[in-house]
Amino acid sequence: MSDSSSSSTVPAGHPFRRKGRGTDGLFKAFFAGNAGLTVVILVLIIVFLVREGAGFFPAYRGELELYRKAGLEFVDIARKDLTAHEQMSSLLNRAYYAQVNAACRREFQRSQEATQVVGYIDDAVAPPRSALERVTEGAGEEGAPAELLKSLNARYQSLLADALAGRPGKGLPPTPHLSDEERAGLLQELGAREPLSTDEPALVIALQEQLAAKQADASEPLAGFRETINAFASASEDLDNLIYETGESVKATKEAATLHEIEVTKRDTLLAAVPGTKGAEERAQLEADAKAAVTTEPVDYRAALQPVLGRMGEFEAANARLAAALGEVKAALPSDLADEKAQRYLATFRKAEDEYGRELADTMPKMQAWDFEKPVGLGATISGFITGRDWITGGEWQDFYGIVPLFVGSLIIALIALSLAIPLGVGAAIYTNQLAGGRQQRFIKPTIEFLQAIPSVVLGFLGIAVLGTLLQETSMKDSFAWVPGFPIEQRLNMFTAGCLLGLMAIPTIFSLSEDALNNVPSAFAEASDALGASKLQTVFRVVCPAAISGILAAVLLGLGRVIGETMVVLLVAGNRIEIPDFTEGLGVFFQPAHTLTGIIAQELGEVPFGSVHYRALFVVGMVLFFIVLAINWSAQRLLHRFRIGQD
């Protein structure tokens, strides 16, 4: 404050004070304006989300209308049956192979173990081997330089010796199902192999043959079952062809309509540029271009649909064939399969049969009632977005925007995170605040606060590099086979993401809960003590209930943080846009998913500005914004009530 401003050198007096008053109003207005900036930002956020979002629904409706007019929707009605049929035959196929392979488990293991050993050795000697390959291939008639060959060969031999001794990496893979002689023979053969030979070792071939023979044996008694499956599977051929052909036709219609629209837009753009031109020549050129821009006629949807709708009879026949095949397969299926897994698939099939049958019966009336001119309502578009189970973008056929899979993904991950963070965060808060000594407190608090300072992208990186792999490898161990969902197939899944988000939520919940406990007047505890309550009674019956609304608010704020978090879920959740398969029980937590935040981060940078897809992402942002707003608002309400209760 060394600079002396003009005001302080002027002696205090009337002129100065009047001048001061005048400017004071200005200053006040300036500061008020800045305070208003927060309101402006909040309003801008809402305005821009809503502006783009509001644009989404009409545009999406337009797309859906074209989807209907061009007849894509018609084909999709039939396609639903095809997909269902394929799922059904896949179930049968899986049941069949599970039954066949049940008998060959040992052969599979033996064959795999041998292959793993070969793979281990191959990996270890790969560099000199491929170098040798290139040198010998690239060499002309005079041959490769002898010195180079020699050094590469030497390198190959030394690496090979290392690998045979199991030195690199984790060592030679274990082969519990191969006998010692077999293993030794295999290693010997690999050791003696020419560097450039690509022949499989004899043992590997023999084991594959054994496996094939065993599979053939096992499938013999199941030949009837196989035929039943084949007959069932092939029943969809007609429908498949029909859908492919009509699909091509309606897609052409849609493309023609899109092209026409583009041309019209182009003409309009060119015409709009005409008034701005300077010379007559340029103007004439532009007008000519505009005229030439539209080369196609508007599409006559009714005429274009004729050939597709004209095949209704064929659709009917194909549908009847599927229904007949279902009837046949119902009768011909074996009632039981010996293998447990096979039986499970079969049971799933049995359970789905009737539903599928009903769907088949529904299809034809639906197709006949289908009308390409029926308008798509805005309400239907909006509810289609809110209840839609598909988020399909970037496809050739038709893009769909349904928020359910993303919402469910976000929700499950939040659930996992909170079920970790609530007991840990609240428990730690109670311990630190009520039970721990001063020295422990001084260590625990800063450590957990430091946890809060870790940027989420770092946690996401650790999730990919450390936690995901660690969890997956742990789940492979036989001793954990009883855990539902183990072994984990996907390294990136909801559980890993949930764990990391839990770690992020713990500090929030911890410090806010601790504050809440701190704010409980000490008179409460003292009164409780005085009445002869034990320490535990005081903590759990007096202090905690008094702080409960603060703790709940802490949990809600933690939830807000978890739902709104982006980088961890983008990196770790696995990005599968599908409603998780809840039939797997608790195993559902180990499936990958996509989230509201993740989809924005993944796709916003890639979509053209102003497109339907771009706008859909803003609507997702809007949904996210209001969810988090509602959560935070409830938390504030809780805190407010708490404050009143304290008075």
Binding site: S90, Q112, G394, G395, I577, H594
Partner: protein, 271 residues
């Protein structure tokens, strides 16, 4: 004092609104990850070693990002693993930019599986069924029992669309497929998942822990480029009125030297 700082900050803020022209010697490329993750950076590095003072900015987020960027003038060269759509060309034209298409190289899309997977051969039909979700278990295509996990690129990628065309008869991907950011990530996940299957550019098929799959009896190696089922061309798009440096770089990409770099990375040269 404080006021001066404030006014400086304020004028800095206001000044930011002024447009200024970017440096001329920087070439900015946008688009396909197939080209932009490895080939173009290495072409750029090699080009830089010959032309002092040229700088590059490369953003590889998917082919669809190339054309809006070219039209807006935020990129000098677009990279694409598919041909431009008519509406993309029109959109650029409407802004007075005529795009020149340059075939940079050919690429084969290779199906990869985990190294421990016993399935190393598939038919085109099986591949289509796996990616559309009709086949869900490896035992259905002759492997050891185990669920199939499908890894795909994200929707803006040219490979995502090309694959739909080349391998899936334009049907939609299985909803259970996982959308990953780039080729490397697909290879990484497949190498970590015993039941994984994915597709990558030939340049990325060598990753340890994964194995390429032979399709209809044709192995995915450069020598089979003509007979292999899933081959496609990759393109560079450059405005006709681009500056000389950008043009020189595009020419370098298709020069024998540039093609040699492409070949080393596993792309198939044009000739």
């Amino acid at each position: 004092m404080r006021n001066t700082i404030r006014f400086a900050a304020a004028s800095l803020f206001a000044g930011a609104m002024l447009a200024a022209t970017a440096g001329a010697q920087t070439i900015s490329l946008k688009g396909s990850d197939t080209l932009g993750a490895k080939l173009v950076p290495q072409l750029a590095e090699s080009f830089k070693s010959k032309n002092d003072g040229v700088k590059f900015e490369i953003a590889a987020e998917g082919s669809s990002t190339a054309f809006p960027a070219l039209a807006n003038g935020t990129a000098h060269i677009g990279m694409s693993s598919r041909q431009a759509k008519p509406e993309e060309i029109t959109a650029a034209q409407a802004k007075g930019i005529k795009l020149k298409e340059i075939e940079a190289c050919h690429d084969m899309i290779v199906v990869i599986v985990n190294k421990g997977n016993s399935v190393k051969k598939l038919t085109k039909d099986q591949v289509a069924k796996i990616f559309t979700g009709q086949v869900k278990d490896w035992s259905e295509v002759g492997g050891a029992p185990g669920a199939i996990s499908v890894y795909t690129r994200n929707t803006s990628s040219g490979t995502y669309k090309d694959w739909q065309k080349l391998a899936m008869k334009d049907r939609n991907y299985a909803p259970s497929s996982q959308k990953l950011a780039g080729n490397e990530q697909i290879a990484e996940e497949v190498s970590k998942n015993k039941g994984g299957i994915g597709y990558v550019g030939l340049a990325y098929a060598k990753k340890s822990g994964t194995a390429p799959v032979t399709i209809d009896g044709v192995a995915p190696i450069a020598a089979n480029a003509r007979t292999y089922a899933y081959s496609r061309a990759c393109y560079l798009y450059i405005p006709e009125n681009a500056d000389a440096t950008a043009k020189a770089f595009a020419d370098f990409a298709i020069s024998p030297e540039g093609q040699k770099i492409a070949e080393n990375l596993g792309f198939v040269p044009n000739h």
